[in-house]
Symmetry: C2
Subunit: 314 residues, 2 copies
């Protein structure tokens, strides 16, 4: 069964620097499809290999499944290639995760980034296995590539190494990789070495160079919304074997990351985008998130400019 | 604005013993609408004043919004009066909580039980206020009565007393009460005394009598799926001023609760229902939940029978 599900054809391997794209919204808190496509195009132009749309940073769980699907379709209609997207398609409801993942396949996404169901706590690996297995079996599409999204600080539900091993054994080729946002370098290192072929993305560009050095795929990060050029330079310097340069660039990238991390990430990033672009669509966050106050936003931007963040962003 | 939203007419006050109803599912993990209506009717016949459908116990977050709405409508078509229902309509997405709440109003539910958005952690009271305010303002229906569902062990997002106070001030008459599943008696006691008119339901029948004695509304509890007759007797004895009898009955009820609590609640309750009714629809749980194994289920049922749980259930 598992092998029938995995076809190697037509699915490009995902690799490199991915922004976990912000989702711009209008005053009514609806996704601004045009601004979203413009932002995603800008990120790709600035050097992102791909985009993790509808993740934590994209406020995906604050949108209904319908809103996510409509916004994804509009994004592709707006000129962003589905092949560059790794859409978040997790949901507490298996049926909804199936529906979202199918929509991602329909637009040509080479993978889907799937949270574990995150309402119930203290659930077993058996239960989580059943969720991911159910997802794969119900979709039953050889194009499907599942990236496991581990973010226990938000979900309260960790994806254990034994669970990953079990899923890889049951669904080789379908379980394709992970985004690990646990903030634990040792875990990322272990993932890179324990599971050959499993594509490991760090959830922060802080670990970009280290992840690449250990054979990982790259990073998918919120702050790459504003640091994509620099993050891409780190990647390219490493790729070209210019390790000294890569390290210096990584140092600078980490400084920017550190600076942003002192603020609540999503409000901070939306406020920076608003200031860099002058667009009003960055003022809106869906509850329960709230805007960064103006004073803090100005302070953050000024700190980032002192560190050399260019005006044009991202 | 707030006062326009609250109409006292036609909305019966919710009070008494509520089961947090289980949701029976077929082998394909679809809600079995017929079995659901039969179960809910049985609970009402057994003495429940009302039913908290689509709560934690009902695996609501494991269902899509569409599935929840279709199942709610089917329940009412299946003969269960919407006036006896307090449907869970929470969602991480404001737009979805609005849609679910409207569907509840359409079937005549006198209130909705609303979780805070539970994906993001460490969110502010301002952000949670915006969520509940947004819900009320978007629905803009004078029939709406919101019950705040506090279950920090699952959500990771607590509903603070200052937040309740602020919501009550902003939306008097609309913010109607709470189900508190934090498992903290002192909090329930405080809620009963601090906010007159605010209807407090304990999330466990362990606190049923105490809650009633402190002027609370009653309980909404998972285990009432199998203890409803006894829970109702506690309520009625207290109501009639037979406090000695109420206390003895509460002691028995608490013993049953303690016994079930030693097992994972939802799998345990579904296994008991399966054994009491002989119906196959109690074997299915949506992932990430998993069935109780047969041996444990038999052991639990035998313990409950030793404590006098009647064969017919619930």
């Amino acid at each position: 069964m598992a092998e029938d599900l995995a076809s190697k054809e037509n699915v490009e391997q995902l690799t490199g620097v991915f922004a976990a794209a912000l989702t711009p919204m209008d005053d009514g808190l609806n996704v601004d499809h045009e601004a979203f496509a413009a932002h995603c195009s800008r990120l790709l132009d600035a050097g992102c290999h791909g985009l993790g749309v509808f993740g934590t940073t994209g406020e995906a769980n604050s949108l209904s499944a319908d809103e996510r699907i409509v916004a994804l379709e509009a994004l592709v209609e707006g000129g962003v290639s589905g092949e560059r997207l790794l859409p978040g398609t997790g949901s507490c409801a298996l049926t909804e995760a199936v529906r979202l993942s199918r929509a991602a396949l329909e637009v040509g996404a080479p993978g889907v980034l799937v949270l574990p169901p995150f309402y119930y706590k203290g659930v077993s690996d058996d239960g989580l296995f059943r969720f991911f297995a159910g997802l794969i079996e119900r979709i039953a599409d050889p194009r499907l590539r599942v990236y496991l999204y581990n973010f226990p600080q938000m979900t309260g539900v960790g994806i254990s190494l034994p669970l990953i091993e079990r899923l890889l054994e049951a669904y080789p080729g379908v379980i394709a990789g992970t985004k690990d946002s646990a903030g634990d370098w040792e875990r990322i290192e272990t993932l890179c070495h324990e599971f050959p072929g499993f594509r490991v993305f760090a959830g922060t560009e802080r670990y970009l160079l280290d992840t690449l050095r250990h054979g990982g795929a790259g990073c998918i990060s919120a702050t790459v919304n504003v640091t994509s050029q620099l993050a891409r330079q780190v990647h390219d310097a490493h790729e070209a074997g210019r390790e000294g340069e890569a390290e210096a660039l990584q140092g600078h990238l980490t400084e920017l990351r550190d600076t942003i991390e002192a603020y609540p990430a999503i409000p901070a990033l939306k406020s920076i985008m608003g200031r860099l672009t002058g667009e009003g669509v960055w003022r809106s966050l869906r509850p329960p998130l709230t805007n960064l106050d103006d004073e803090k936003a100005d302070e953050l931007l000024s700190r980032l400019r002192d560190l050399g963040l260019h005006r044009e962003g991202p």
